[in-house]
Amino acid sequence: MNNTLQKISLSLTLMLGLLISTAGMAQTNEIKNLAGYVDFGDLTGSYGEPNVEINLGPSMLQFASAIVGDDDPEALAVMKGLKAIRVKIYNIDGNADAAIGQIDKSRKQLEADNWEQIVKVKEDGEQTHIFMKMIDGNIEGMTVLVAGDEDEAIFINIIGNIDPKDLGKITESFNVDVDID
């Protein structure tokens, strides 16, 4: 390999590394800056790594939903309104204290940020909280926080324009076998 080719090779390698790292950071920052973003904190110290962790940004949502377009324009319209989907599921193994503590922190922050709590359920040791973020008549995000007797603590954040009544449209379109009524 001559000197010029070596330089080009190294340059491309360096640029690829920079490109990958820049893309990741750019998308993470982009999502964090959205009005519908919720900070779930970090419970790895209490429960270890999440059993499920999903972070889908706008571009991946766009590609993933393109396939439903022709068959289900309604579902596509719902998907187009979404900017990100984030999920963290921890196995709490019967000890919900840390999860409930985090939910309390998140709730306080959400209230301070003018989120609307539309559901609060405390029943048989189980807590479920649903908040919506609305700005100027537009839905900017939704978050669901669950912890209690179940073995899992659930943190879900859907960023973008999502009306709960439209959830059925995309669950059908994505063949999700869950009755969310």
Partner: protein
């Protein structure tokens, strides 16, 4: 220049650090770069170090106030610019501009390239679809755990809030008390 396996770890780390800091002279930098071109481990280590440095730079960088930026840009480049590690990329007749401009231009080019060329492969798209399925399944499970809550009720509340009505307390189910949809205090 020895390859990575021939250099001791400290010397190797020092060489990379000096390369990224622009502290190597031209010959030394070229030697290291040539060695990296034929040594995958060395190239990977340089990329890792570069990536970490970039991340740290981002963490530590704060936006420059416009007024200060103007003043800084007005300072004539009378001081010799610090030699950059990527100096070897420049043609011999290169008219050096400010280093920040070169870095910014490179970064902007790459970001544009990402936007234009970055396409997920089919496996990534399939993974994203499966992630969406999992997310929706957990969302459904969570709503079911809210027992009496249905998506239509949630939507009703949302629509009323959007219509500008006064803030209402959340639908609240405590203990064994169930609040039927028609009795929800909106």
């Amino acid at each position: 220049m020895k390859n990575k396996t021939e250099m001791n770890t400290q010397a190797f780390d020092d060489a990379i650090e000096e390369l990224l800091s622009g502290d190597l002279n031209t010959n030394q930098a070229q030697e290291l770069q040539q060695a990296a071109a034929s040594d995958q481990a060395m190239a990977t280590a340089i990329i890792d170090a570069w990536t970490i440095r970039r991340g740290l730079d981002e963490l530590e960088t704060e936006a420059v106030p416009p007024a200060l930026e103007k003043r800084l840009l007005a300072i004539p480049s009378q001081h010799a610019p610090r030699k950059q590690w990527f100096a070897w990329l420049k043609p011999a007749n290169w008219q050096a501009g400010p280093s920040w401009a070169i870095g910014s231009a490179l970064a902007m080019s790459l970001i544009l390239a990402i936007g234009i060329s970055r396409q997920p492969n089919p496996a990534e798209i399939q993974q994203a679809r499966e992630d969406i399925q999992v997310a929706l399944a957990y969302l459904g499970k969570s709503l079911n755990q809210a027992d009496q809550v249905t998506r239509d009720e949630l939507s009703l509340q949302v629509q009323k809030i959007l219509a500008g009505q006064q803030h209402r307390p959340a639908q609240n189910i405590e203990g064994d008390t169930r609040i039927e949809p028609e009795s929800i205090d909106l």
